[in-house]
Structure formats: C-alpha cells, structure tokens
C-alpha cells in the first residue's frame, strides 16, 4: 500500500498526470450529464456515431495538412449532431438506422482518406490511437487543458441553465411543444452540446469508447435512483469516480487509459444493478 502511495506521489509531480486527471474529471462530468436524455431518446449510440464522424473529420484535416484540426472537427461533428437529433419523428430514416449510417460511413471514408493520402509510416498505429485514445490523454499540452476547461465550464453552465427544459423536452416532447415550449430550439442546443462533449471526449478515451462514457453512468444511476434530479447528480458523481479510478489504475498498472476507465464503468454498473435489485427486493 505504501508502495502504491509512493508511486502516486511520484507521478503527481509530473504535470502530464495532473493534466490527465483534470481533463478526465471534466470530460466525464460533461459526458454523463446528457446520458439520461440520450439513453431515453434511444440515442445511446450517438456517442459512437458522432465520434466516428469526428474521426472522419480528423482524417480530412490530416489530409489537408491542418496543424490545428479542432475547429474543423468540431464544425463537422456539430453539423452531424444537428442532422441526427433535429430531424424529429417524421424523418424517413430514424434514430438507430441514421446513426449507424453516419457512423459506418464516416469511419470508412476517414480510413480511406488516411490510407490514400497519409505520409505516416505507421498507419494502423495512427488509426488505432485515434480510435482507442491510447495515451493521448497523457500527452496533453497546457493549451489543450485550458481549452477543455473552458468548454467544460460552458457545457456545465448550459446544462444547469437548460436543466428544466431538457427534462420537459425529453419526458414529453409533444406536450412541451403543444404548451408553447420551443422544442426545436432546445433540441438544437442539446445537439450542439452533445457534439462539443464528444469532440472533447475523443481526447480521453478515443472515439470507440465514448459511448461508454455517455451511457454507463446514466444506466447505472437509473438502476438505483427514481427522480431525474437524483439520477443526473448520481451519474455525474459515478462518471467522475470511475474516470479517476480508471486513470489511476492505468498509471499504476500500465494499462491503456480508455479501456481501463470503461472496465471500471462496467464493474460499477454491475454493483449498481445489484444494489438496485436489493433495494427493490427489500421494499417489495
């Protein structure tokens, strides 16, 4: 135990470890907030879909030799999120099918572009690290940490400001629209926030594992808690806890960061499910 503590104290002195922890906490907080909304709207896979779009956009950026690919990636992802979430219930291609289409399409085009135009000798390594995040959270620069901090603060502030509206629009869109809530505007805002979160989260866990950050906290919290407010708060705490745990374990054990975080999420999910079943059993 003292060994572990010593090791942690040693690592704590490195700025990249502190950066990784700070960014990990911020991103897991942001991605957990809208999890409930997404799961209930049957958009659980939007994290995957949009992250593949972001991957495709990164491929385009690298083909164009852009040094800072963030603005382009953000723009394309936001547009896709709006296309997915704002078409509403009358769309010809609905929820899961639309996500699958965009997701697979962007992944294929991205890989194709990288294959055709890349100058790197280690293509599969590049693709793998983009998809799985590998160690990119440990190589964050000071500027990236600040960008991530500012965006997270904006996302959290927007969520708190629109909290009741998100609830109304998710719980019953027809009622909300009929009683004068501007559901289109709020769906639009939700879509933009989600896209921003996903582009941010790609740094942490890579594009393949983003869905885990979105759905595990929400699903786990829903096993135990009964009101929207308690589920939201619980999933935020859950998400932060699992990310911290995952990052610490991965530093100590030398495992990949993204997968370790998701493994922590899975373990906690089963603990919460058991707790939920126990509560129900005790009551009924």
């Amino acid at each position: 135990m003292t060994n572990v503590l010593e090791k942690l104290t040693l690592y704590w002195q490195y700025p990249f470890v502190r950066y990784a922890l700070a960014v990990g906490v911020l991103i897991s907080l942001c991605s957990s907030l809208l999890g409930v909304t997404l799961v209930l709207k049957r958009f659980s896979f939007i994290g995957d879909g949009l992250s593949h779009v972001a991957f495709g956009a990164m491929a385009i950026a690298s083909v164009l030799h852009l040094t800072n690919d963030m603005p382009l990636v953000m723009l394309i992802t936001v547009l896709s999120a709006i296309a997915l979430l704002c078409t509403g219930q009358n769309a010809r291609i609905k929820g899961d099918a639309a996500i699958a289409m965009i997701s697979v399409g962007a992944l294929a085009i991205g890989y194709l572009l990288m294959n055709l135009f890349t100058t790197s000798s280690n293509l599969s390594g590049d693709v793998c690290s983009t998809l799985f995040g590998s160690t990119s959270i440990l190589t964050l620069t000071n500027a990236e940490v600040w960008l991530c901090t500012v965006m997270s603060v904006i996302v959290v502030a927007a969520f708190v400001f629109f909290y009741h509206k998100v609830f109304a629009v998710t719980f019953d869109e027809s009622f909300a629209a009929a009683t004068g809530v501007k559901t289109k505007v709020y769906n639009f805002i939700i879509a933009v926030i989600i896209a921003v979160i996903i582009v941010l989260a790609m740094n942490l866990v890579g594009s393949l594992l983003i869905s885990a950050l979105v759905i595990f906290p929400a699903l786990s919290a829903m096993r135990v808690f009964k009101s929207f407010r308690s589920v939201t708060i619980c999933s935020a705490v859950f998400s932060i806890f699992c990310s911290l745990l995952g990052i610490l374990i991965s530093i100590l054990a030398g495992t990949p960061v993204g997968s370790t975080i998701v493994a922590a999420d899975i373990v906690m999910f089963f603990l919460f499910s058991a707790a939920g079943a126990l509560f129900r059993g005790a009551r009924g």
């Binding site: 009741h164 109304a168 919290a221 829903m222």
Partner: protein, 235 residues
C-alpha cells in the same frame, strides 16, 4: 368570439388528405367529444389544433383571450415515459415550462400552483414517488395535474381512459367533468367510448366517412349518431 374556430380545415400528412373541409367552433365552457373510427384523423385533428403539425389548408383561429401557450394537453403515453426516471413532482412542475420562456427555474408561485393541482387530483401522497412505478390511473392523474399547470382555460385530452379498468375510468371521467363544471375549464376530448361521450359531453364532433358537429342531443337524433351508437341509448 369562440375559444377555437376551425374553418374549412383540410388535414393529412405526406400530402395525403384524410379530412376534408371541416368547420366547427368550441366556446368557453363546452365539453366537446371527438369520436370516429380508428384512422379517421382524430389525433391528427388534435395535433393540428395544438400547432404540432400544419393543416393542408383552412384556418384555426383562437379567440376569447386564449393564447397559444394557454392550452393544456393530456397526450397518449409514449414509450419513453415507461422507463423515464422522474418523480411525480418533477413531471407536474414541467407543465409550467411553456410559460417560462428563457427563465431557467420555476417561481414560488408556480410551485404553489403545482401543489394545488396535485391536491386537486388527489395524488398528494404520490408526490415523491417515481412516475414509472405508478398504476395507469395514477399516471393519468399526474399528467392531468401537469396539464392543469399549463392552462386554466382549455384542456385537450387524447383518449384519457384507454387501458384503464372500469372503476378507474369512471373516476377519471368524474375528475374531468368536475374540471368542466366547477372550474369552468373547456374540454376537448378524443374518445372511443361513445357511451361516455353521450353522457358527459355537451357537443359531439364525429369524423370519418360522414361528418357531424353539433350538440349531444342533436347527435343522438341524427342518422350518423344512431348508426354509430346504436341510437345513443347506451346510457
């Protein structure tokens, strides 16, 4: 002027017309029942009046000081709600969202009114409970309390008793009649239950192959009412 006037409405979707040249009006204090076969366009009509979809042609006018945001609505339940983690209190309070505009939080006055509406529906003991764990009848009461938060003038009910057992159905009808008589709230209700329509409603709108609009008595003695309700002497 009437609360709601529909003039020469043509309704449908994807360019397909399902209702042609429909005209009727709803006055303050009315209890209008919309009846007709499945697929005749009852829900489409209600969604159009609520502004959730556009009519193909024709006009919908609101009058008597009724504004768009002052309509309460009890929609049919959606699959999302079956596993939504929400307390009764949160659901009822969300009825005020339409009048909030950009304001992010509910006021004290709104919270007080939400409490009153919860009491009026007789569900105050359920206030902290989880919505998805309630029985069908309790859920309808919660949604009715929410609708009352959105309006004190006009309520739209889309098959409010579907899936409820006879006892709970009767209680639901009593609640609605009470809102109409005691609080003077105008009711527009879609119903499959022609017996209830003829017992509680003041007016009937029958849509389908043939269209009828008029008072309950006129409907009873009309040909279409006789054919549809077996002479309307069900009650």
């Amino acid at each position: 002027m009437a609360l709601i006037t529909c003039r020469n409405l043509c309704l449908g979707y994807d360019g397909r017309e399902i209702l042609h040249d429909l005209s009727f009006e709803v006055n303050k204090g009315d209890y209008l029942c919309i009846v007709g076969e499945n697929g005749s366009g009852k829900s489409t009509l209600m969604r159009t009046i609520l502004g959730l979809q556009h009519p193909l042609s024709g006009q919908i006018l609101t009058g008597d000081g009724l504004r768009r945001g002052e309509i309460g609505y009890l929609p049919q339940q959606t699959p999302v709600q079956k596993d939504f983690p929400a307390s009764v209190w949160e659901v009822v309070l969300s009825g005020f969202e339409g009048s909030c505009g950009w304001r992010p939080f509910y006021t004290k006055a709104e919270k007080r009114r939400a409490e009153e509406n919860i009491r009026a529906m007789g569900i105050e003991q359920l206030s902290g409970r989880c919505y998805r764990e309630l029985s069908g009848g309790q859920q309808q009461r919660v949604l009715l309390a929410r609708a009352l938060c959105a309006t004190s003038k006009l309520l739209f009910l889309d098959e409010p008793v579907s899936g409820l057992d006879p006892k709970v159905t009767a209680e639901m009808y009593d609640l609605i009649e009470n809102l109409n008589h005691e609080q003077g709230i105008t009711i527009i209700m879609i119903s499959h239950d022609i017996g209830a329509a003829l017992r509680y409603a003041s007016h009937v709108l029958h849509i389908g192959d043939s269209v009828f609009f008029g008072t309950r008595e006129a409907y009873r003695s009309s040909g279409i009412g006789t054919a549809y309700a077996g002479g309307g002497r069900a009650q």
